[in-house]
């Protein structure tokens, strides 16, 4: 007699069998219905795979929508704040979309797969919003999260790994480019995109071929330090790269209840994504008004003294007489690769200009007892981690 496993109600990615085989920690969390690993053997080691070799992260739970039809471009152009006319087939755009009040619902990437055919990816689900936004457009929006398996293949050796898998012509693929390859009798899409701020790719394939892809990838990567990684390692990498995470650095506007808890693109430092020159986009009117009248919040990247990560800390303008806080930290980490205590935070305007000094009140615990330090922090405007190899084309082989 064998013991039957009781299903826990979480979906499994088509890579689950491979991840499970490597998993030694058994710490998984839920990501939009899927089981997603926090880490598989050691978050630090996994993190170093990203920075020194190749880390492979299972992206399948990422929500994916296929957007096509005669009005697909017009639809997307109205949906997101940036000009989608400029995103030609074979290109990928990082974008945000806003509600009618110009508050960010989410950020994501839009892949222009082929003329008039797009894939929109985001951490959160937005079918209701995308459907509402489709009213009046001849466009089809189809959820393809389960049908498309995806891996992030990130790190300095990622180009070498993928090339040795036999993907010819990858060398000329520029950042935010995508290309289709033939693999195992099906189509493999490779984009030079990622969430780590490093050289890296994302690979996309029909779910049935997921395991074949994994096996080929790991066979090719064996000599190049390839490792499967979990969310903790990726999260550290994305903070170093200065990327935002929904529910950490902002709340999707449709999930907030209190006024003032959502953010505009300006308040998230995404001014460069807002294009007032294009005809219209959702939230335009409200954003134009905000542009005229000024924003309430500003997102800051902070270089903090000391080595205590400033998780959830309050930010003050001055070290002493710190009666009123000016903001708070939303993501924080000790960055091993930068040897820096880094954080993303939100401060009230006009605080937080590049070069400003602010103070961060860090609490930490040692053997049960709490200690508090006021750490000096400087507002920086560049990502903490921004190696030249990230955009070098063709990438150097390692």
């Amino acid at each position: 007699m064998s013991i039957q496993e009781v299903p826990q109600g979480r979906l499994r990615s088509p890579f689950y069998s491979r991840l499970q085989a490597l998993d030694t920690l058994n710490t998984w969390h839920e990501w939009k219905g899927y089981s997603s690993a926090d880490a598989l053997y050691c978050a630090e080691t996994e993190y170093f795979a990203i920075r020194n070799a190749t880390g492979v992260f299972d992206l399948t739970p990422m929500t994916k929508y296929r957007i096509s039809g005669p009005d697909a471009l017009d639809y997307l152009d109205r949906l997101v704040t940036r000009d989608m006319q400029k995103i030609k087939p074979g290109r990928v755009a990082y974008a945000v979309w806003c509600d009618d009040q110009g508050q960010v619902i989410d950020d994501g990437t839009i892949f222009h797969l082929r003329e008039g055919e797009y894939r929109l990816c985001s951490q959160e689900r937005h079918f209701a919003w995308l459907t509402a936004a489709a009213i009046g457009f001849d466009v089809s929006v189809v959820v393809e999260t389960a049908e498309v398996a995806a891996l992030a293949v990130q790190g300095p050796t990622s180009f070498t790994v993928l090339s040795s898998m036999g993907l010819e012509g990858l060398a000329t693929l520029k950042p935010f480019g995508l290309r289709h390859f033939e693999f195992a009798g099906t189509e493999l899409m490779v984009s030079r995109t990622g969430y780590t701020g490093d050289l890296g790719y994302e690979v996309w394939i029909a779910a049935e071929k997921a395991e074949l892809l994994w096996d080929a990838l790991f066979a090719a990567g064996q000599l190049h330090g390839i490792r499967a990684i979990g969310t903790h390692a990726l999260d550290l990498a994305r903070i170093e790269a200065g990327y935002l995470a929904a529910f950490e650095d902002f709340l999707p506007a449709d999930t907030t209840v209190r006024t003032g808890r959502s953010r505009s693109p300006f308040e998230l430092g995404l001014d460069w994504l807002v294009d007032f020159k294009k005809p219209n986009f959702n939230g335009r009117k409200a954003l134009a008004e905000e542009k005229r009248n000024g924003s309430t919040w500003r997102l800051v990247k902070l270089d903090i003294e000391g080595n205590k990560p400033a998780h959830h800390a309050y930010i003050y303008a001055k070290e002493k007489r710190n009666k009123k806080e000016i903001g708070f930290i939303t993501s924080a980490a000790w960055s091993p690769v930068c040897k820096q205590n880094v954080a993303l935070g939100t401060v009230r305007m006009p605080h937080g200009k590049t070069g400003d000094t602010v103070w961060v009140e860090i609490f930490y615990q040692r053997e049960m007892h709490w200690t508090r330090v006021m750490a000096k922090a400087v507002v920086v405007d560049k990502p903490f981690w921004f190696p030249p190899r990230r955009s070098l084309t063709p990438p150097d082989p390692y």
């Binding site: 109205r78 949906l79 509402a132 936004a133 009213i135």
Partner: protein, 514 residues
């Protein structure tokens, strides 16, 4: 080069005409573009058979606002005024009402009717004050808006505590319950039920039907008139006033799109590709057509599009026109009674039962009817000795299951004629020609999406501050320079001119509350 105007009005329905005239009177250069060859929208007179003409849409005038008549110096001649309503009985014992008087019913109902009518007109008068001013914006901090909100509240309070409670109790209620509490006579209840639901997608048991009843009375306390030459003469008078004020009216000019540049309306383009520019574009087309077709979802916000797209506006009233070689015989009617308004509704349940199939996309096999013989008082409409019957026949749902095919139309036409023949057995022999306009035909002829009288159901969730939709009351669309002025806006449909006049006032005040 495109021609430039201070304002362009899209659609010469009666509201478009009123709005254009008032703008021109205030010194604006105004271009009025109408898709049809004739102005007036659903308020026109046109031929439907050789030698016979009829008010093809609206056929009774009861809401035209005195303010509109005065400001535009209209002089409309009536062929008949203060018409009675006669609810026909198969055995000739008809019920008649006019104002607060009713006959053909027991004394108890007579007394009750007087009281009912008094109370209803008191509430309707309240509604009327709201008719002729733009609705205040909800959630506003603007003083004038707050003032008009307060005033509306105050008007309600002026009724006194008990009356106010009664008003608030009634306003969301259904007419059926109120009528069955008050009256015994089935015909009276049938007639009043029909009054409440004419032109709506509602039955007498639907909530809100007291409101629609009050709305009917709100114009001019329900006083019915027939203009000489039909409804078209109202529109002609308006067009005359418009031209006099300097409006350029161009017919046969369907507008294809409203041009939007950088988040503001800057002009229009006609189907034929002609362009006209203006920083004030006023649409008399219904809200959905204006936003979804003329502007395009692309240019407005998602939630707004969603709300506009969800406006309930499925028409359910058909129009039947008969060319007759003589008046039919109806038991118990004097000849002169043919000049009145005749209703066919056996009782309140008949109206509800007629509505039932419509809920499921079917037409009524036994419809209820509002009938007039306009030629009886107005010889211009038919050859001498001949007559025209103009009837509203309910229910004929816009989205009929299987569509309005020839068979479906013939079936409904037969049902309507059969219904009339129960009272006028010789009607069929008298017919020379007939025309049936289903909501689909109404949509096609008048360019009203869904073929709905009011360009959108007149219910509490689409009334006052939220008409046509929340976030766009006050005639202003969330696109700079774009306004609405038609029945889809506050207060609603009916030939009243109120929406057109209110819109003009908002535009002239530069978007500030008036």
């Amino acid at each position: 080069m495109t021609d430039r105007y201070d304002a362009i009005v899209v659609g010469a329905g009666h509201n478009g005409l009123v709005c254009a005239s008032l703008l021109a009177k205030a010194g604006k250069s105004v271009l009025l573009l109408e898709a049809n060859k004739q102005v007036g929208g659903a308020a026109i007179t046109r031929p439907f058979a050789d030698g016979y003409s009829v008010s093809a849409g609206a056929h009774l005038l009861y809401q035209l606002q005195p303010e509109v008549q005065k400001e535009l110096k209209l002089n409309i001649k009536m062929a008949a005024d203060n018409l009675s309503t006669i609810v026909l009985s198969a055995n000739g014992r008809h019920v008649r009402y006019c104002g607060d008087e009713v006959s053909g019913v027991r004394q108890k109902d007579v007394d009750s009717f007087a009281e009912f009518h008094q109370r209803m007109t008191r509430y309707a008068d309240l509604l009327r004050t709201a008719f002729n001013k733009p609705p205040p914006r909800l959630g506003t901090t603007n003083k004038k808006d707050l003032l008009s909100l307060a005033r509306f509240g105050f008007d309600v309070r002026r009724l006194g505590k008990i009356e106010m409670r009664e008003f608030l109790r009634l306003i969301g209620m259904n007419i059926h319950d109120e009528l069955s509490e008050r009256f015994d006579n089935p015909l009276l209840k049938g007639g009043l039920s029909l009054d409440a639901v004419l032109g709506t997608h509602l039955g007498p048991r639907s909530p809100n039907t007291i409101m629609t009843y009050l709305y009917r009375l709100a114009g001019n306390r329900g006083r019915l008139a027939l203009p000489v030459g039909g409804m078209g003469s109202v529109s002609d008078a308006l067009a005359h006033a418009a031209r006099g004020a300097g409006v350029t009216i161009r017919t046969n000019m369907p507008v294809k799109r409203i041009i939007v540049e950088n988040g503001r309306a800057t002009g229009v383009e006609t189907e034929e590709g002609e362009r006209f520019s203006s920083l004030t574009i006023v649409s008399n087309a219904d809200p959905r057509r204006t936003i979804m077709k003329l502007v395009g979802a692309r240019h407005v916000e998602t939630r707004f599009t969603h709300r506009i797209n969800n406006i309930r506006m499925r028409g359910n009233a058909a129009k039947l026109h008969l060319a007759l070689d003589g008046l039919p015989t109806i038991d118990g009617l004097t000849r002169k009674d043919f000049g009145e308004r005749l209703l066919l509704a056996v009782d309140e349940n008949h109206v509800e039962r007629a509505f039932n199939p419509a809920k499921y996309g079917e037409s009524s096999p036994s419809p209820v009817v509002e009938m007039t013989f306009p030629s009886f008082r107005d010889e211009s409409l038919a050859p001498t000795g001949k007559h025209v019957m103009s009837a509203i026949v309910q229910y004929a749902p816009y989205d009929l299951k299987g569509g309005w095919t020839d068979t479906a139309r013939e079936e409904f036409r037969q049902a309507a004629i059969k219904a009339i023949a129960q009272y006028a057995p010789d009607i069929e022999q008298r017919i020379i020609a007939s025309e049936l306009l289903t909501p689909v035909d109404i949509e096609r002829e008048f360019h009203i999406s869904g073929g709905h009288w009011h360009h959108g159901e007149l219910t509490l969730d689409q009334f006052l501050f939220v008409r046509p939709v929340a976030g766009a009351a006050q005639y202003q669309m969330p696109l700079d320079g774009l306004y609405l002025c038609g029945a889809g806006t506050h207060p609603g449909g009916g030939v009243s001119g109120a929406a057109g006049r209110n819109a003009a006032r908002v535009i002239l005040s530069g978007g500030k509350p008036v």
